[in-house]
Symmetry: C2
Subunit: 236 residues, 2 copies
C-alpha cells in the first residue's frame, strides 16, 4: 500500500467504528457534548467513550474544552462537518439525532436560568451574551473583551468590577444546557450580582435555578426572549 493510501485510511479509520460514527453524527448539530452524554447515546461505558474521544480529538476531527469535571467535545470545524455531512448523505435515511439532555430539561427552570459559580447561565446567560454582542459591547475578534461601549454601558448600569489578582475581567464559559458561551470572569460575576441585588432574578430554593422577572430586560434583552425566560402561571 502507498503512503497516501495509509493516510487516507487513517482518516477513514476514525469513522470506521460504529460508536465513533454515532458520536460524530450527534456532533453534527454543532453543539458541544459531554463524554457521559455520548456514552449514554452510544450505549457504551464511560471508559470506552473516553478512549474513542481521545482518538477523535488527537486525530483532529474533534476539539475539546475541559471545564471543571466536564469534558466537552465538538467537531473541529466547518470543513470536517461538511465532510461528515457528505458521508452521511450516502446513507439513505437520516433521522434527526435525539438530543436527550436538552429534550428532558428544556422546560426546566434550571435550563432557563441559573447561576454558574458566580455568574449567570442557562438561556438567560446565553441570551445576555448574545444581546451584548449584538449591541457591540463585546469584541470576540481576539478571545473575548469588553469594548469601550461595553465599559460605558456597565458604568451606566452602576456596575463596578471587583478586580481580583489573576482573574480576567471577562471570560467566556460554555453553557451546560445551551452549549453556547455565556459570560464569566469579573464582568460575568458583576452582572449576576447586579441582577440578584435588584431582584431581576431570584434564587429558587434547593438548587442553582433562578426565577426571572421582567426587570431583566434592563440588560437590553429582546422582549421575546425575556418572555420565554419567565415561567408560565402554573410553574413556580
Amino acid at each position: 500500500m502507498t503512503a497516501e493510501g495509509e493516510e487516507l485510511a487513517g482518516w477513514a479509520r476514525m469513522l470506521a467504528d460504529g460508536t465513533r460514527a454515532t458520536v460524530c453524527l450527534a456532533l453534527l448539530d454543532g453543539r458541544a457534548w459531554t463524554a457521559s452524554e455520548l456514552a449514554r447515546l452510544a450505549k457504551v461505558s464511560r471508559p470506552t467513550i473516553s478512549e474513542h474521544l481521545n482518538q477523535l480529538v488527537s486525530g483532529g476531527l474533534l476539539t475539546e474544552v475541559r471545564q471543571g469535571r466536564h469534558r466537552y467535545v465538538k467537531l473541529a470545524g466547518p470543513d470536517t462537518a461538511e465532510l461528515l455531512e457528505g458521508l452521511a448523505a450516502l446513507t439513505p435515511r437520516r433521522t434527526e439525532v435525539a438530543n436527550s439532555l436538552a429534550a428532558v430539561s428544556k422546560r426546566d427552570a434550571f435550563a432557563r436560568a441559573r447561576t454558574c459559580y458566580d455568574h449567570l447561565a442557562g438561556k438567560l446567560g446565553v441570551a445576555l451574551a448574545d444581546a451584548m454582542t449584538e449591541r457591540g459591547l463585546i469584541d470576540w475578534s481576539d478571545g473575548i473583551a469588553l469594548t469601550a461601549e461595553g465599559q460605558a454601558w456597565l458604568e451606566d448600569l452602576g456596575i463596578e468590577l471587583e478586580v481580583r489578582r489573576g482573574r480576567p475581567a471577562l471570560r467566556s464559559c460554555l453553557d451546560v444546557t445551551e452549549r453556547r458561551p455565556h459570560l464569566a470572569g469579573a464582568v460575568g460575576a458583576a452582572l449576576c450580582k447586579h441582577a440578584l441585588r435588584h431582584d431581576w432574578v431570584t434564587h429558587i430554593p434547593g438548587g442553582r435555578a433562578l426565577k426571572v422577572t421582567g426587570s431583566v430586560q434592563a440588560f437590553g434583552l429582546p422582549v421575546r426572549v425575556v418572555k420565554e425566560l419567565q415561567p408560565g402561571p402554573r410553574e413556580t
Copy 2:
C-alpha cells in the same frame, strides 16, 4: 451505537484499510484497473486484492466489468469520486499515482494498435470509437447502437455486416491499455476486417500488434491522431 452510526461506519470501513484506500486513490484517475495491477501497486498478493475488491464492489464503491480472464474495476460513479477527492484533500501532500502499465507500454506498438479477438483495439480502436461517436454514428444513450447515419456510413465504406445468431451488431469493449471503450460485435469485426483487407493496418509478426498506415484516415479519424498512431522512422 445508533443504526445511522453503524451505516456511516460501514462506508468508512471500506476506506479504513491502507490497501483499499490505495486502490481507491489509484482509481481516482477514472480508468479501469485489473486486479493484478492493483495487487502490484498495493504490494499485496492476488488473493488479498481479490477479497478487497469483493468488499469494495459489494459495498457499492466500485463497479466491475468481467471480461475474459480479467476483472476490471473502477469507481462506481462521479459522486463517489467526489467524496473520495474530498477525503483525499484532507491529506496534505498528494502525489500523482504511478500508472505503471501505461507508462511501460506507452510507446509500444501493442498499445498503439492491435487486434482484440476480431476487432480493433489500442489507441486506434479507442480513437475510432471516439471519432464515430463525435460524428453521430453511434448512440450511447441506451447501451450502444448504430444510428441511421452510422448505418449509411458503413454502406458508403462498402462494409457488410456478418450477421450471426446471438451476436449483437455492436458492442463496446473495454480497452486493455486505454481503459476506455472501443468497438466490438459484428460492427467492430467488420471494421477490423475492412481495415486489414485494404492494408490500412497490417499485422506485425509475432503478436497481435498492428502497423498503422495513413490510410486509416479513411475511417474519419482526426489527422493528429493518425500521425500519433504511425511509428517513427526508426521503429518497425
